[in-house]
Symmetry: C2
């Protein structure tokens, strides 16, 4: 029997790349379950290729459509929260946790089982409820494997020594599509401008977060929980080529780093490997062909979202959850044309200020984090223009 | 009692840097013995600071001078081969093996003891007798810790996975002082030109090897023995900033790398650490301040020594010892003004051709390697101009 894998967020960018990795290793893995949000056609097509035992759709209203799409395949399926839970409960050695947004919080937490390996691509599990999530993972005995290219690189670089000998870690940022833009031009940026990520192709939400550097700020918060480092032990350097993904600075002055061509299949394959690495058919990293790397300090004046994320990390408690909830509302409004790019930082900053301090302290449970997230969204929506409020309330 | 350290090659560049590392950790280490070549004043001064139990000088003719220099210090001392052997035999947990040239071969081999850690900076132990040296180290149970910045970086990067999952390793080269020179200008280079190494300050011989890229070629041969990789699994990239020292390419497409500011104290401290790293007072690596890295393929047309070293590695057997012996003679002649810079590659190439094939096969013992080295030197000296021959014969 192959190693069993369940993919949460199967039809997103990470889910599709995971399917590509599995396709390079026929017979080695078995797919236990696929979970998607509402993309019936996408998940059905993937299911016919990967032959999971079970397919779940979060959107309960599309149960019939899913059943029709899988008819004749012999693949069991269901829709709605209970179907998602059933998928998570199915036996599997590795879970790829790649549902995006706070929607991924509960299923990812439910996926924690003794001895299970969680390839973690859902940022919010750590950003909104990091202390509770890591505490529960440790208590249950689940193994968290970071799947983001930056955290995966850091985890690899960390193998070179004892965690207590780490002085700092550096995460690299591509700098996003507005890296060379002046503040006025950034303020007028449109969703189309954010879609041009220099090195990765991703979803619309993460494209905006990458353009604002909020994405990097959220990653700092994730790194804090994953690696147990304080806010002052984590920094960001802009590296537009996105080849070095993370660096560990050791107390003897040595630095170890994780590098790779920008291809999500590489960190995914790293997380799917047991003991020994998978052989991936990807181009070798050729430094002479690349010619050079550049580095610059991030500019928090032009990219205030990074400053706000650092402040939320420093404030601790529930503030990262507040930051994240407000950002989701503001980014959604921006993508729908109801807010400007500069509104994103403004709404996030004002929402965080409305809570203040540590926003009531560290959420003790996933439910607490979700409650805080809802409250942050409500306040953020109120800070958008009136026309936006009614739309945001529907989210 | 502190951890006991013996330094072979105490007054050279590595020995002095080792003393600097020890000075940063008062009370943590005990110096068992210091071994130097002929620098009485240097070793006596160091002995009065580090308080070893024993000091040995290789040069037997300076026994009285050494005794005088240490008089009143209470430090036992001796000169000549038997004194060096006595130093090596003294109890010590770690040996810094930093005698330069083939002179280091026998003492470094004699230093192999069960459980002992050998911080290996003597290239020739691996270049001339790598198979025998690594076989004997394994049989005896000595632990070889590479102290060169490149191999130390590779050893750290290698910790991220299983050695069998390594596809290739890349060593970086500064490119040396002639990196941007055309072939005609390189041919006319003088010893003064080679003294301007872009990133490290080192001895005259290694400066020439760095300028010719022979140094990098010798390091490829060392890497072959240290890490068990074939000639086609090892390559070189020119990286003038010398911040990335080595990269390990894994079969999943991930790459791990060892970086550090160019400071020999960093890899030395890494080798002196037991389990946990030493805390070193060195500047943090600041990528944004550095601004960028550049990379280029090495040019074996302008730097034929790298090509010759690769050919010797591919030929295997005794050829690396022949290459090294011929290079030492040619470099000595160049430094003494008896040969041009381009004579170095010519003499090495012709000496290797005179042996041919694998130069009689892998030396089975250190003595065999030394015999091959002497024969290579004899032939190389004969290939220099007549005026050079008599001088070379004295070496």
């Amino acid at each position: 029997m192959g190693h069993r894998i369940t993919i949460l967020g199967a039809t997103g960018s990470i889910g599709k790349s995971t399917a590509d990795v599995l396709a390079q290793h026929p017979g080695r893995f078995e797919v236990a379950a696929l979970v998607a949000g509402s993309d019936v056609r996408g998940v059905a097509e993937m299911a016919r290729r990967l032959r999971p035992s079970f397919v779940a759709l979060a959107d309960a209203s599309r149960q019939t459509a899913l059943r029709d799409a899988l008819s004749g395949s012999g693949i069991a399926n269901g829709a709605g929260a209970s179907a998602v839970l059933e998928a998570v409960e199915r036996e599997a050695e590795t879970i790829v946790a790649a549902i995006s947004g706070v929607a991924g919080l509960a299923p990812t937490h439910a996926a924690l089982k003794p001895g299970r390996r969680i390839g973690l691509a859902n940022k919010e599990s750590l950003v909104c409820a990091g202390a509770a999530f890591m505490r529960d993972a440790a208590a249950i005995g689940a193994v968290i494997l970071p799947m983001d290219s930056e955290h995966n690189a850091l985890a690899q670089a960390l193998a070179s020594g004892h965690p207590d000998d780490v002085v700092t870690m550096t995460l690299t940022a591509s700098g996003g599509p507005f890296r060379t833009w002046d503040a006025a031009r950034i303020a007028d940026a449109t969703p189309a401008h954010t879609a041009k990520h220099p090195t990765y192709s991703m979803g619309a939400k993460i494209n905006v977060d990458s353009a604002s550097l909020m994405n990097k700020g959220l990653e700092l918060i994730e790194a804090h929980h994953l690696f147990g480092l304080g806010p002052d032990q984590l920094d960001v350097v802009v590296h537009p080529q996105s080849i070095i993904h993370g660096l560990v600075h050791w107390r003897d002055g040595a630095v170890t780093a994780g590098l790779a061509n920008p291809d999500m299949k590489i960190p995914i394959a790293n997380c799917l490997a047991i003991e020994r690495r998978l052989t991936m058919d990807v181009p070798r990293l050729d430094l002479a062909a690349i010619g050079g790397f550049t580095f610059e300090a991030p500019d928090e004046a032009r990219f205030p979202c990074l400053r706000l994320a650092r402040a939320a990390l420093a404030a601790g408690g529930g503030m990262p959850a507040v930051l994240n909830g407000a950002n989701e509302i503001a980014v959604a409004a921006f993508l729908e044309g109801r807010a400007t790019f500069s509104d994103i930082a403004r709404v996030v900053e004002e929402t965080c200020a409305a809570f203040g301090g540590a926003a009531g302290g560290e959420p003790a449970t996933i439910e607490d984090a979700l409650a805080l997230d809802r409250e942050a969204r409500r306040i953020a929506a109120g800070l958008l223009a009136p026309v936006a409020r009614s739309a945001a309330a529907r989210l």
